[in-house]
Structures are given as structure tokens and as C-alpha cells.
């Protein structure tokens, strides 16, 4: 394979893995906007999505579409349970408490996943065969198209949801000003619940579409969550489209770096980007520092 087709190959797989970072980053943003919580269990939603899909389609041999729907439904329940049993009862919601509680939930999810699925990585067959499609001299895995396509659909559906539905608008209002939103009669607590449900559901989608490419093991959540958070920060925490852009960017950087430099440091590249952004411009590439100044006081 020539260098140029190799690079195209890297970019393709970068966009694919970047899709997952983008969705995970959106998941972070949804919860952050309605609660100011960073959900350290976000990566676990992705893991559970993948593993539950394996159960439905590989073990129970359900058709893909049913497996997909059932998995996403189950994940909404997971999000609901997490909010009701872990976030809602907190008495002193300090930042440290919230961080540790979501970490505790992530440990529990990981434990449950290990209990149910064991320690091995699980395989999910690609949605439409494995025969590569020729694309600009590179061989394109058809699952890449599924991942990219479904990510685009998720992004479009969500942005329509936030722009045009009453509930979506109410969530956006909470993100802008919680006190004002509650004065306007919006039930803020219900929005918090909804944000966890929504976040878990799209996390599940990310898990379903990526498992055929990367496999899925019970302990993949931490690194997925960390990179998703990297994308969220890179795009500016809370910024919807920023997250999408940054997710793809991070995926491509990681894929190129791993391919052209050294694959052992694949994970380190994304993390290094995360640290650099945090240290140099924590408001993200699209962020305005003055806004964060207002939010702090």
C-alpha cells in the first residue's frame, strides 16, 4: 500500500473512532449543561452499550434492529437508575463528592459488566459483512460507514431535539441559567434525570456501533471516557458542535500518530492533547474565556 493510501486509511479509521469520542463528548456535555457534573461513568455507558448489544444479537441471536432498540432502551433505564440512586440522594453536592460518586458508579458498572460478561473482550459481527469497499485506493471497512452515518444521525436528531422540542428547549434553558429556568416553571430535577437518560442512551449507541471494530471488554470504559472528555474540553465544555468537531479531530490525530509514530503510545496521544488543552486553553478551541469568568462568580 502506498503512503498516501495508508494515510487515507488512517484518516478513515480516525474518523470512525473519532465518532465515538464525539458521541461520548456530547454525552458529557448534556449532563454537564444541566448539572455542572462531569460524569466519570460516561465511558461505562459505551461499554454497557456494546456488551448488551452482544448479548442480544450474538447470544439471543435477535435481529440487529431489535438488538439496537432494546439496547438503547436498556441504557435509558441504566441512566435513570444512576440518577435516582446515586445522584439524587446526595446530601452535600460538593465538586469532590460528585466526582467520587460518579467514579463509584463507574466502578459498580465495571464490576457488573465483569460479573455478567467476564474479563474477555467480546466480538460483535459487523452490521453488513466484512468485505472492504475500495475508496481512493484504500480499503474501507463497511462498518466505518455505519459508524459515521449513525453518528451523523445522532448529531442531527439531537440538535433538532434541543432546538425544536419543548423538552429540548427546557434543557437548554437549564443549561443557560438554572435559577431562571426553575422560576419559569421548568422542573429542573426532571431535566437532570432526563440528561442522564439521554446521555446513557447515546453512550449506548456509541458502544453498539464501535464494538464490531474495536471489540468490547468490561474495563474499556475509563480510557473511552477520558478521551471523550478530552474531546469535550477541546471543543469547549458544554459546546455541542465543538464536541463533534473535536471528537473527529482527536480521533484523526490519534490514528495518524499511532500509525506514523508508535502504536504503543496511541492512547497517550489523545491524553497529551487533553492535558495540553487543559493547560493552555481550558475553555477549548472555540471557547471564550470571559464567559467562564462570569460563570465562576
Amino acid at each position: 500500500m502506498s503512503l498516501s493510501s495508508q494515510i487515507i486509511q488512517y484518516i478513515m479509521s480516525g474518523i470512525t473512532i473519532g465518532s465515538v469520542y464525539a458521541i461520548t463528548a456530547i454525552g458529557f456535555n448534556i449532563i454537564y449543561n444541566s448539572t455542572s457534573i462531569i460524569n466519570f461513568a460516561q465511558g461505562e455507558f459505551v461499554v454497557l452499550g456494546g456488551l448488551i448489544m452482544v448479548f442480544f444479537t450474538v447470544v439471543l441471536k435477535l435481529p440487529l434492529i431489535f438488538g439496537f432498540i432494546l439496547t438503547v432502551l436498556l441504557l435509558t433505564a441504566v441512566g435513570m437508575v444512576m440518577e435516582r440512586f446515586a445522584i439524587f440522594p446526595i446530601k452535600e453536592p460538593t465538586v469532590i463528592t460528585l466526582i467520587i460518586v460518579t467514579i463509584a458508579v463507574s466502578i459498580l458498572f465495571r464490576g457488573i459488566a465483569m460479573f455478567v460478561w467476564g474479563k474477555d473482550a467480546h466480538v460483535l459481527p459487523p452490521f453488513s459483512g466484512e468485505r472492504g469497499i475500495d475508496f481512493l485506493g484504500a480499503s474501507l471497512n463497511p462498518q466505518y460507514i455505519w459508524v459515521f452515518g449513525i453518528t451523523v444521525i445522532v448529531v442531527i436528531v439531537l440538535s433538532l431535539f434541543f432546538k425544536y422540542t419543548i423538552v429540548g428547549k427546557a434543557m437548554t434553558a437549564c443549561a443557560v441559567n438554572r435559577t431562571a429556568a426553575s422560576l419559569m416553571g421548568i422542573n429542573v430535577r426532571r431535566m437532570v434525570l432526563l440528561s442522564f437518560v439521554l446521555s446513557a442512551a447515546i453512550g449506548g449507541v456509541a458502544g453498539i456501533i464501535i464494538t464490531p471494530i474495536t471489540l468490547m471488554a468490561y474495563d474499556n470504559g475509563a480510557i473511552l471516557g477520558l478521551k471523550g472528555f478530552g474531546a469535550a474540553v477541546l471543543g469547549g465544555l458544554g459546546n455541542f458542535y465543538g464536541a463533534v468537531f473535536a471528537g473527529f479531530l482527536l480521533g484523526i490525530m490519534e490514528s495518524l500518530g499511532a500509525g506514523l509514530i508508535h502504536s504503543g503510545y496511541k492512547d497517550a496521544i489523545a491524553l497529551l492533547v487533553l492535558l495540553l488543552v487543559l493547560f493552555i486553553k481550558p475553555s477549548g478551541i472555540f471557547g471564550v474565556s470571559e464567559i467562564s469568568e462570569v460563570k465562576k462568580f
Binding site: I37, I38, F40, A86, P89, I90, K91, E92, T94, V95, I96, T97, I99, I100, V101, I103, A104, V105, S106, I107, L108, R110, G111, I112, M114, F115, K119, A222, I223, L226, F229, G230, V233, H262, G264, Y265, D267, A268, L271, L272, L274, L275, L278, F279, I280, P282, K296
Partner: protein
């Protein structure tokens, strides 16, 4: 340091001195050595989390830096264990400064993620620098350490060696928090804006405590290396960083004794949970969740509350 602390310290010391003579089981002794090693890190992390109010989910990295500096320098380059020990402390302080200066400008969640990211990167480096660290399988043949000419080569000797370090570090930390600096630290925890308006240089103080906690972790790392005489990256992973945070939180974040109790519980508990094999992780998650929700001040705070209610 206060009468209460001196008294507790006395009781602890008496217990520690008697313990090896009443227990015949070397297994208990070795567990206590690990309690001491974990306790040293937990004390430092407690200063950072409970007093300065800054979270770190990457302290396994400093533990690892200490451990690997000692391991690599003594076994591959023939350094004296004590010079390796101090070079480890030096390296950890320099890294803590480099990470701390930009990180501590960040608040809350950002800081947690930055330290988490740093911890993961360090873990990857331990795995990938195979020429030095031996990669994932780890490295062995690490010499024992000696103290003024005497080899610390039995479990009993090592037990006293580690706990002497811990008591020293505990006294230092108790002195630190019961002072002008300790007051300033607690003020940062409560309101950073008010603290700086009263003249506390919050960023400098946070950085100093971050470095001190990294030094404690590095000391614990070197002590670990010369006891186990084998290191592998898996001991310094994210789960260990989280375990350290758990130790501080379970005992009670705002109390150094709480950190020590947390270190003890979480080091001894796995021995009882052995029957659960890998599923102890579920128990950990549940305990952490319940404590954070229902006892945000940890066991010490929770028991103190119950005690006060009982008195009334």
C-alpha cells in the same frame, strides 16, 4: 500538635511496637507493611484533598515514579538504594511541579481529569519504556535496602522501617495542619476567593501541598520496591489511584487519622474479600457510593456524629 493527637499517636506507637511480638503469623506482618506503605500515600493525599480541597486521581503515578526510580537505578545501574530513593523524591517533585503549575490553575472537574490523564500517561510510559522498566511483565532482582550498615531484610525489620517512616510523616503532617499554613490550607478548601482576599497566596500553597503529597507517594514507592523486590506497571494503574482516593474518602477526608484508617481498611479488607475473587470491585463501588451519599464526612465524621447523638 495538640494533646488529642499526641495521645492518639502514643496509643498507635504502643500498638505498633507490641504487634510483631504478639502475632506469629508473618502474613499479618506483611499486610501491616502494606498498610504502612499505603498510609504514607494516603496521608499526603489527605493533605491535598481534605485540607487544600484539591483532588488528584493520578497519585499512583508518583508512587510509580518512586518505585521505578528505585528499581531501575539500583538493579540496572548499581546505584546505592538511598541515593536512588532521594533521586526518586527529586524526580517526583520536579514532575509534580511541572504538572502542578498548570493543573492547579484548574478547578474541580478539570483538575480531576488533568491528574487522571497524567496518571494514565505515566502508566503507558511504564509499559512502553521496555528497555528500562521491562514493560508489562515487570522487573525483578531489586536489592534490599540497608540502614546505617544493617540490611533491612526480614519482615519484622521492614515493618519497623516502614512504620518509622509513617510516624515521621504523620507527625510532620499533623504539625503542618496545626499551624498558620494549615489554617491557610483549610481556608482555601472553604472559599478560595475569601482566602486570597485575606492575603493567602492560594496558588503557591496549593502547589506546595501538591509537591509534598507527591513526595510522600514517591517515598512510599521506594519503600514498596525494596520490600517486594519486583515491580510491574499494573501496580500503578488508574485503579490504584482510585483506591488511594477511596482510602482518603472512606476514613474521612478532613482528618489525617481518617486517611490512616482508610488505608488500613482498604488494605486489610481485600484479604477478607478474597473469596469473592475478582468481584471485590463490586463491594468497593458499593461502599464508596454509600459512604459518599450517606456519610460525606467519612467513617470518622459519621461515627463522631453518632457518638454525639448518643451522648445527647
Amino acid at each position: 500538635m495538640g494533646k488529642k493527637n499526641s495521645f492518639t499517636l502514643l496509643i498507635l506507637s504502643v500498638f505498633l511496637i507490641i504487634f510483631p511480638f504478639v502475632t506469629t503469623n508473618t502474613y499479618y506482618l506483611s499486610t501491616m507493611i502494606f498498610v504502612g506503605i499505603h498510609g504514607i500515600i494516603a496521608i499526603g493525599l489527605c493533605l491535598l484533598m481534605g485540607y487544600a480541597g484539591q483532588i488528584s486521581i493520578g497519585h499512583a503515578a508518583f508512587f510509580g515514579l518512586g518505585a521505578y526510580t528505585s528499581a531501575v537505578l539500583t538493579s540496572r545501574f548499581g546505584f546505592h538504594p538511598w541515593s536512588a530513593f532521594f533521586l526518586g523524591v527529586l524526580l517526583s517533585s520536579v514532575v509534580a511541579l511541572a504538572i502542578g503549575i498548570p493543573s492547579l490553575k484548574l478547578k474541580g472537574h478539570y483538575l480531576a481529569m488533568a491528574t487522571l490523564g497524567f496518571g494514565e500517561i505515566t502508566y503507558i510510559v511504564f509499559n512502553e519504556l521496555t528497555d528500562l522498566t521491562g514493560g508489562p511483565p515487570g522487573m525483578g532482582d531489586i536489592p534490599r535496602i540497608s540502614l546505617v550498615g544493617f540490611m533491612v531484610n526480614t519482615d519484622v525489620k521492614y515493618y519497623f522501617f516502614v512504620w518509622a517512616f509513617l510516624i515521621f510523616i504523620l507527625v510532620v503532617s499533623l504539625n503542618l495542619i496545626n499551624s498558620r499554613i494549615g489554617r491557610a490550607l483549610r481556608s482555601i478548601h472553604d472559599s478560595e476567593i475569601a482566602a486570597s482576599a485575606m492575603g493567602v497566596n492560594t496558588s503557591k500553597l496549593k502547589l506546595q501541598i501538591f509537591v509534598i503529597s507527591a513526595i510522600f507517594a514517591s517515598i512510599a514507592g521506594s519503600l514498596y520496591t525494596h520490600y517486594v523486590t519486583f515491580v510491574s506497571p499494573s501496580s500503578f494503574s488508574l485503579s490504584f489511584s482510585i483506591l488511594l482516593v477511596m482510602m482518603v474518602v472512606i476514613g474521612g477526608m478532613h482528618n489525617l487519622w481518617g486517611a490512616l484508617i482508610g488505608a488500613g481498611l482498604l488494605t486489610i479488607m481485600p484479604e477478607f474479600l478474597r473469596a469473592l475473587k475478582d468481584f471485590e470491585i463490586l463491594v468497593y463501588g458499593a461502599i464508596l457510593l454509600i459512604i459518599m451519599i450517606y456519610m460525606p464526612k467519612g467513617l470518622i465524621g459519621g461515627l463522631g456524629y453518632l457518638f454525639n447523638r448518643f451522648k445527647k
